[in-house]
Amino acid sequence: MTDEILRVDDLVVEFPQSGWRKPPFRALKGVSVAVGAGETLGIVGESGSGKSTLGRAVLGLAPVTSGTVTYEGRDISHLSRRRRRELGNDIQVVFQDPYTSLNPSLTIGDTLSEPLTQAGISGAEARRRVKDLLDRVGMPADSVQRLPKEFSGGQRQRIAIARALALEPKLIVCDEPVSALDLTTQQRVLDLFIEIQERTGVAYLFISHDLSVIRHISHRVAVVYHGEVVEQGDVDKVTTAPDHPYTQRLLLASPVPDPIAQARRRAERQAVIRS
């Protein structure tokens, strides 16, 4: 792995539960992962595994009960609001739902200039940067005056990516960014992610439930199950010949778009279940 920029050590995240005397819910039970500069670490798991919580904890959107999150050597587990603001230059996010990740009543121009205004850039310089961002994600310049509802899901995700890139971050947390998109759109948006990484050297913490997507975009992979990392390693190893039985089940459960290969995989899976 190249130089580490993000490190998570023994991270525990608990959420209080409603109803008195109920113990808090442990979303993450001591997770340790690391992301190298310019690389993609894929986090794969099913619903309720805690994968999104991991992303949110890195972003400061979920409380850290114990353990540490370290960015470029600095402990960012419990940052004040103001310190978080400074971190916005370095760590950014792209969310899953293209329909609610952009404020529906703000124009694209307003949405994209918000991070720039935060960093003290405004006026002509901000406008120039916004146009440049739209260019980089393949959207036309006149998008600035339009509202999100005029765009398709894939187009909105591109705009969300543009927003993430505005402050030239070194790490982007991608929380299921292509899960809500059609197949053909998925491919294009994933290619955009990869192109941006190759050009700018940004690192990704890429979260998804889809093993094939993770395989396509990650250099290294961590598999999350019930709040724990059950397997971690290089992408080729984890997504082709995994060690842990849960990862094996994940692999065998994804159907293959080829009847013969799928029949084979199905037989393999059922054999594993029976054993």
Partner: protein, 583 residues
């Protein structure tokens, strides 16, 4: 929503921003009339001193209770005052009272709602409790008690009324803030480090602006009503002219002065109605602004490849030339442009496409369950070789045709137990008693792999998991042994390991009972796993139809090829591709 394959960039003028809700409300005829009336009342109130023919307290004791005419257009009251002038000055006091009520309720309700919604915790709890306590009491009782104990001033009463109505703004703003607080775009702003104050002013207030204006109009109407009511009860200020007091006087002299009831009553009714109508027009304008734009017109349907049209008719289901459209007249838009499809008994047919392809519409059309506004405009659907009408297909639901929906949790009635929802159709279709139906339901649940069927029968939908719910829905679909099963993306909403189990279950059930299965999906892996034949749809048009094995081996249409190519399953990993590039 079309797939990226054909997504068009928006063209033409940009959509208008939200700020023009008021303007749009005025375009609506009732909104315009209401707006004009309100403006007139305002003008009358402001210009009262100029336009009133007499002073408000100017009384001529020689002319009491006269009807209209001879210097007094609308007559005089019991103190010889001119009714028209009373009306004009009455407008002023009415509007002032309403303004106080609206102002105070907004001043108290909006900031508290913002704080309670945004910061939550104890402020929220206390605020909500106080709010519901205030709403719990009848306003007039509180106002009268206030008058009795503290102050007889009408303005003070309107102030209290404003406080009494503040909860309406509180709940409104709090709800808006809470919904926005959890939106992803607020999270994105937080990650950028945007301060709370900015998040509130930028993201929250823009959403809540219009509902606040609507509520203000309603509160104004209520304020006018209650003020007139208090005055009618005799609580008004004798020195000030007001509509309510005139009404009171009219009532007390009902036999000789009904004109005193008529004119103030009209003025009051019209003004209150104007505010209410304006609020309504605003609400309609807001709803229209939120509506999604009409999708772009689909491309011209190219000529259909003859290999796509089935040679023989399917013996279970046969669809010919099906067209489905939404809306009516000039607004009608067709979403399915004439497709043909066959399903033989005991076979599995996959209907594949991306969003906007029309695949779900087709399935719903066969079931007879198209959503509101949708209808079949052309084509036939035959079952067992006979053309069917909508009514006939609906009568087959649950008996001969079964349906498995996509989203497990939202497809079960939350108010009834699982058992209740399984038993009812069984009793209706099979004519059996409750005990026998329950036994059958238990057997069904066991068959679909539920570990503790008795406990599940007594559970409510919110108590079970998504995977369990989908099994329950499958059980419900096959309960009366239908010959045709239609499944709309039955595995899409589930985790991948559960998906595989559900597919196994579906396959087993289909083979066991020899059902014809039409499965709608966007996932070619699912198709490879279970389908005998495949139909591919794009933008409402059928583009390919082949046996499953043939389709994967040699896809004919470029769209099918693009879809198959877009699948990442079994493809090279990131590292592998990077190594390739270096060579």
């Amino acid at each position: 929503m079309s797939s990226e394959f054909t997504a068009v960039l928006p063209i033409g003028k940009p959509a208008r921003k939200r700020g023009s809700v008021v303007v749009r409300a005025l375009r609506n005829p009732s909104g315009l009339v209401a707006g004009v009336v309100i403006a007139i009342v305002f003008a009358v109130a402001v210009l009262a001193d100029v336009i009133a023919p007499y002073g408000a307290q100017e009384s001529d004791l020689s002319r009491l209770f006269e009807h209209g005419g001879d210097g007094h257009l609308l007559g005089t009251d019991g103190a010889g005052r001119d009714v028209l002038s009373l009306l004009i000055y009455g407008a002023r006091s009415s509007l002032i009272g309403a303004a106080i009520a609206v102002g105070v309720s907004m001043l108290v309700g909006i900031p508290t709602g913002l704080i309670a919604g945004f910061y939550g915790r104890w402020f929220d709890q206390i605020g909500t409790w106080i709010s519901s306590a205030i709403l719990a009491l009848p306003g007039i009782v509180v106002l009268l008690a206030f008058r009795a104990s503290v102050s007889t001033s009408m303005w003070a009463a309107m102030l209290v009324f404003g406080v009494l109505l503040a909860p309406s703004f509180f709940t409104l703003v709090r709800a808006a803030v809470r919904s926005v607080r959890n939106e992803l775009y607020v999270d994105a702003a937080r990650v950028t480090g945007v301060s709370d104050a900015r998040i509130i002013s930028r993201h929250v207030l823009t959403i809540v602006r219009a509902p606040i204006v609507i509520q203000a109009a309603m509160v104004a109407a209520l304020g006018l009503m209650i003020q007139a009511g208090l005055e009618f009860l005799g609580m008004g200020d004798r020195e000030t002219a007001s509509w309510g007091q005139s009404l009171n006087e009219g009532f007390q002299n009902i036999y000789r002065a009904d004109h005193l009831i008529l004119w103030p009553g009209l003025a009051l009714g019209i003004t209150i109605a104007a505010f209410a109508l304006f609020a309504n027009a605003l609400r309609d304008a807001l709803d229209a602004a939120d509506a999604p734009r009409t999708p772009p017109a689909p491309p011209e349907a190219s000529s259909v490849d003859p290999s796509v049209v089935p040679a023989t008719t399917g013996d279970l289901v046969s669809i010919r030339g099906l067209r489905i459209a939404y809306g009516s007249g000039d607004d009608a838009s067709e979403v399915v442009h004439g497709i043909d499809l066959d399903l033989d008994a005991g076979k599995v047919v996959g209907l594949v496409g991306e969003s906007g392809s029309g695949k779900t519409q087709t399935a719903l059309a066969v079931l007879g369950l198209l959503p509101d506004g949708g209808r079949i405009t052309a084509g036939t659907i035959s079952i067992d070789g006979r053309t069917t009408t909508l009514t006939q297909r609906i009568s087959m639901l649950g008996r001969d045709i079964g349906y498995i929906p996509q989203e497990p949790m939202s497809n079960l009635d939350p108010a009834f137990t699982i058992g209740n929802q399984l038993v009812e159709p069984l009793r209706r279709h099979l004519g059996i008693g409750r005990r026998e139906a329950e036994a059958r339901a238990l057997a069904l649940l066991e068959r679909v792999g539920i570990p503790e069927p008795e406990r599940l029968m007594r559970s409510y939908p919110h108590q079970i998991s998504g995977g369990m719910a989908q099994r329950v829905l499958i059980a419900g679909a096959v309960a009366c042994e239908p010959r045709l099963l239609i499944a709309d993306e039955p595995t899409t909403a589930l985790d991948v390991t559960i998906q595989a189990e559900i597919l196994d279950l579906l396959r087993d059930l289909q083979q066991e009972r020899g059902m014809g299965l039409l499965i709608v999906t966007h996932n070619f892996g699912v198709v490879a796993d279970i389908c005998d034949e495949v139909y591919v749809m794009q933008m409402g048009v059928l583009v390919e139809h082949q046996a499953a094995g043939d389709l994967f081996a040699e896809p004919r249409h470029e769209y099918t090829r693009a879809l198959l190519g877009a699948s990442l399953e079994g493809g090279p990993s990131r590292r592998q591709r990077e190594k390739e590039q270096l060579r």
